[in-house]
Amino acid sequence: MMKNFRTIPALLIMGLISVTSCKKDDDNNNNDNVIPPYEVPTTYNFSGANYLSSTQRVKMGVELNSYLGTGNNATVTAAKANDYFNNTNAPFADATLNTSGVTLAQKTADPTVFTTYFTQQASNSLQNGVAATNGTAGFYMSGTTKRLVGPTGMEANQGVAKGMMGALYFKEAMTLLTSVPSADNNTVTNGSTAMQRAWDEAFGYLGVPANYDPEATYPNTDPNRPLLWGGYLAERGKTIEAGKVIFNAFLKGRAAIGAKDYTVVNAQITIIQEKWEQLVAAAALAYVTIPTASTSVNDLAVQFHALSEGYGFLSCFKYRPAKSKLSAENYTALQTIINTNFYTLVNEAGFAKLVQAQTILKTTYSLN
């Protein structure tokens, strides 16, 4: 009888081995070099991993956004916003950021787009006591929520927040990942190779904690909560499992770099780039769809807020990787649509332009 009990653990182990075997499809490419077995951890606590500058830029972005948001009820200035952008005059509440030597401007593409938004938000904030109309900045209310918009209905601060998610964090992550295959993976400096550092920095722009749990709901008060893209993994990426897929691929790829298992590394780069870009599309799709819902019709605060976020997310596609599924033609079509005066977009019969944008996003990125 005792013998029976001993066979059970053995069988369980067999079961575990076969379970692991069903995920290793992409490890099986005929590598001549034998790669020693390596483990993929469940948290991003790799020895020597360092992505502090990425994390700092994420935190800086959050502080900049929150400053611009105060324009709803107070006057904001472009000078102060530029201080956040360039890390001048110690603007950050988190004092370690002020002395970090890191800035948002260093890594932001098309910086004048953002400095222009700063000026717009500053001038819009002077109108924060006036009801908006087509052609004039001011505010709209939806319930108790106040939204400050410019002359075309656009919230300049959303242009910054979501636009920078593209022009800085997404762009940097895509570029870094693309650079990984040709980076040096032999010379160790400060505990990591150049390839590992590029990977780590890209991971940092995702804005999630090292022990990220894709299933968890992080309260706003949690200091460890995901930020910017990290927040959108859950906010708009649940149905495409963006959090799980991207985080796991970062873990697997980093472990594979350590084992010099480049087939797996390259596969993870593709997974991350494709899923992250699909997340951009899912967010953009949500925000060009909300304004067309019967529940938001003629609620300009809700419609313009969504379009402002959509504007920012659609701008991210400018920094899409070379292998992107989005054609140049459809990219231009999306830009033309979202650059239309928002008053026109929400008033059009059948929401023709917004429906066109929805169709492009759904078709290109297999979304529904």
Binding site: K3, N4, L11, L12, G15, S18, V19, S294, A306
Partner: protein, 364 residues
């Protein structure tokens, strides 16, 4: 024997392990709810019942009622007398009551053309309507004009206290034309939605048994909850002052001039119950809940429907005057509506695994 038994045991364990493995490996991409026949419940049959016995007939009925109403409108516009207005009001009421049957179907083809917004945005925008009449030019397809058309606009144009005198005064041609244009627009919208249902959406609808966002089941549960929110808010609560510290808005009630708000609300809720149960013979959400082993919840929901409908019926029309004269009844009905709202929006949604998405709050 003993050895043989052990072998059998081992084989059994291996079989279990292997089947667990197969399940683990194959369930990679099936988010969005239970399989079609989970618990032996045929969701396709339920959805077919919804399409064929409830939704499509509701639109067909709307078409019929609008045609009947149109005939009465034409008689009235030719000879705008008090007598013809009385006849007209009955036809208007029937059409408006029928609208309460399609109100809950605001998804798919209806959502694509924001049908409810164009047919029933109230309170209506009287200055904008009068401006359109005076100018004689307007584009009723613009989304900003939802508050210048539909039943609420007709309620104003045909039944406001000065409607008869305006229709009989000189220069009434624009006014009559506007009424006819509104009717044409309503008929076009309903016809479009109905043919979209018949031509293509019916197949999509009954073919998708999932319950994730964008599925028919999620659409319906969301819309049940949304209708209850509308009942609690714009239909009953807001005019009564629930959102304004007791300050009342009698002119904001649904069907203000015709004075039929409570009739409309009762029809809405009665139809919602029919939608919940699946109507007469076919399967509905009530049966689905039972299949999901939520018998008690289903019983509670059905009881609460009856309690809310009964309470609502104690309020007399016109609601605009009941607001001050029948506070006890309104308070009681409001409580029952609130209870039903919670049951549907929280408990039924959770039991069916549906996420309520129409209040997609955006933190930033």
């Amino acid at each position: 024997m003993r050895v043989f038994n052990r072998t059998k045991q081992i084989i059994a364990i291996i079989l279990i392990a292997v089947s667990a493995l197969v399940i683990a490996c194959s369930k990679s991409s099936n988010p969005g709810g239970p399989d079609n026949n989970a618990g032996g419940f045929d969701k396709t049959a339920m959805l077919t019942n919804y399409a064929d016995a409830l939704i499509i007939p509701a639109y067909t009925g709307m078409q019929t009622q609008l045609n009947t109403f149109e005939t009465a409108v034409n008689v009235f516009l030719d000879v705008p007398t008090t007598e013809n207005q009385v006849v007209l009001k009955a036809a208007f009421k029937n059409a408006y009551l029928q609208f309460q049957h399609i109100s809950v179907d605001q998804f798919g083809p209806a959502e694509r053309v924001i049908l409810n917004s164009f047919l029933n945005s109230f309170p209506t925008d009287i200055p904008a309507i009068e401006g359109n009449v005076t100018r004689g030019s307007y584009d009723l397809t613009m989304n900003s004009t939802t508050v210048q058309q539909g039943f609420p606009a007709l309620d104003h144009l045909l039944f406001a206290s000065d409607a008869l005198s305006k229709l009989n005064s000189a220069g009434n041609a624009n006014r009559k034309k506007y009424v006819k244009d509104l009717l044409t627009r309503m008929k076009t919208l309903v016809a479009g939605v109905l043919s979209n249902w018949k031509d293509s959406y019916r197949a999509d609808f009954i073919g998708n048994t999932r319950s994730d966002a964008g599925s028919p089941i999620a659409f319906m549960i969301n819309q049940f909850a949304y209708e209850m929110d509308q009942m609690k808010g714009p239909r009953i609560g807001w005019p009564y002052g629930k959102q304004s510290g007791g300050v009342q808005y009698p002119q904001n009630v649904e069907g203000y001039n015709a004075g039929i708000s409570i009739a409309l609300a009762t029809e809405n809720l009665t139809n919602l119950k029919a939608m919940y149960t699946g109507g007469g013979n076919g399967k509905g959400m009530a049966d689905y809940l039972i299949a999901l082993k939520k018998e008690q919840l289903n019983t509670d929901v059905l009881k609460q429907f009856d309690a809310a409908i009964t309470a609502l019926k104690t309020i007399p029309d016109p609601y605009s005057t009941a607001l001050t004269a029948n506070r006890t009844q309104i308070d009681a009905a409001y409580i029952e509506i609130q209870k039903l709202l919670t049951l549907i929006k929280t408990d039924v949604a959770s039991a069916t695994g549906v996420r309520i998405t129409y209040q997609d709050t955006d933190g930033d």
